[in-house]
């Protein structure tokens, strides 16, 4: 990978790093704010060669909604997998299998967010992404209805992510 010759300073990263510094030191003193800001600028500038593409998030209200949806899904899928492991699901046969989902989203940061969501919910694991980015392979623990799963992933996660990262 050839490094890009220009270095950019992403504002969101700088803000995020400053906030992280303040959070870690558990303080809101102005001296620390300044120190954190200087540190954040320096580190973002230093790391900018590794991140040639910057995310451009929009529609942050969608993100807030998505966070809540994901939290609810995490709790529900945890309970579902716990029931499967404990053997409490007797009325059907639990089969696990691979799932191929055609993707519309191409933005790498959106895909990264999708990967984080998929991994955070037990019951789905990200397996592979095709080289041209059009097909996503997942492994699902409780694969009953392929089409339902595909619909779920696309509607509940991909659509809001596309609204955040690609619009």
């Amino acid at each position: 990978m050839r490094a890009p010759t220009t270095r950019r300073l992403p504002p969101m990263l700088v803000l995020g790093l400053t906030g992280m510094w303040l959070l870690l030191n558990q303080t809101l003193a102005p001296g620390q704010i300044l120190l954190g800001f200087v540190l954040a600028v320096g580190l973002s500038w230093a790391a900018s060669t590794l991140r040639p593409l910057q995310p451009r998030p929009r529609n942050l209200h969608v993100a807030v909604g998505l966070v809540f949806v994901v939290l609810r899904d995490i709790v529900r899928s945890n309970i579902a997998v716990a029931r499967i492991v404990l053997g409490l699901v007797r009325d059907r046969d639990v089969r696990s299998g691979f799932l191929e989902i055609p993707l519309d989203m191409r933005d790498p940061h959106g895909l990264a967010a999708l990967a984080a969501i998929v991994t955070a919910t037990p019951g789905t694991v990200w397996v592979d992404l095709s080289p041209d980015g059009s097909r996503l392979t997942l492994h699902v623990l409780d694969l009953q209805d392929e089409a339902a799963w595909i619909r779920l992933i696309k509607e509940r996660y991909e659509r809001p992510l596309m609204r955040i990262f690609e619009s």
Partner: protein, 107 residues
């Protein structure tokens, strides 16, 4: 361990969350034993790392806030780090499993 006085509004939720988180982690580990193949076994441990860790962290935040008499929220950063790095680990493990499967198929 010295005796620490925790108010009731902190100790009860913290205890419940800790028990719940611990249980989830144990069930997750149990899944490693019980499920048949590698790909299925990838799922239960993520229970421990997501909701299990989340419960423990929330309990820790509650207890620390009660002890320090001010909100202590910097442990949320742990969640952020786990969320960012868990997919990488999971993806690479799955790749290794697929690679091994392909090797076995070729033999």
């Amino acid at each position: 361990m010295t005796e620490i006085e925790l108010p009731l509004w902190a100790s009860v939720p913290a205890t419940l969350l800790l028990i719940f988180g611990g249980l989830l982690t144990v069930i997750g580990s149990l899944g490693l034993l019980r499920l048949p193949d590698f790909y299925s076994r990838m799922h239960p441990p993520t229970m421990g790392t997501t909701l299990g860790a989340g419960c423990v962290l929330i309990a820790s935040m509650i207890v620390s806030s009660a002890l320090m008499h001010r909100p202590v929220v910097h442990e949320l950063l742990i969640t952020l780090f786990v969320v960012m790095t868990a997919p990488v680990t999971a993806m690479l493990l799955i790749r290794a499993a697929i690679h091994r499967g392909r090797l076995r198929n070729r033999k």
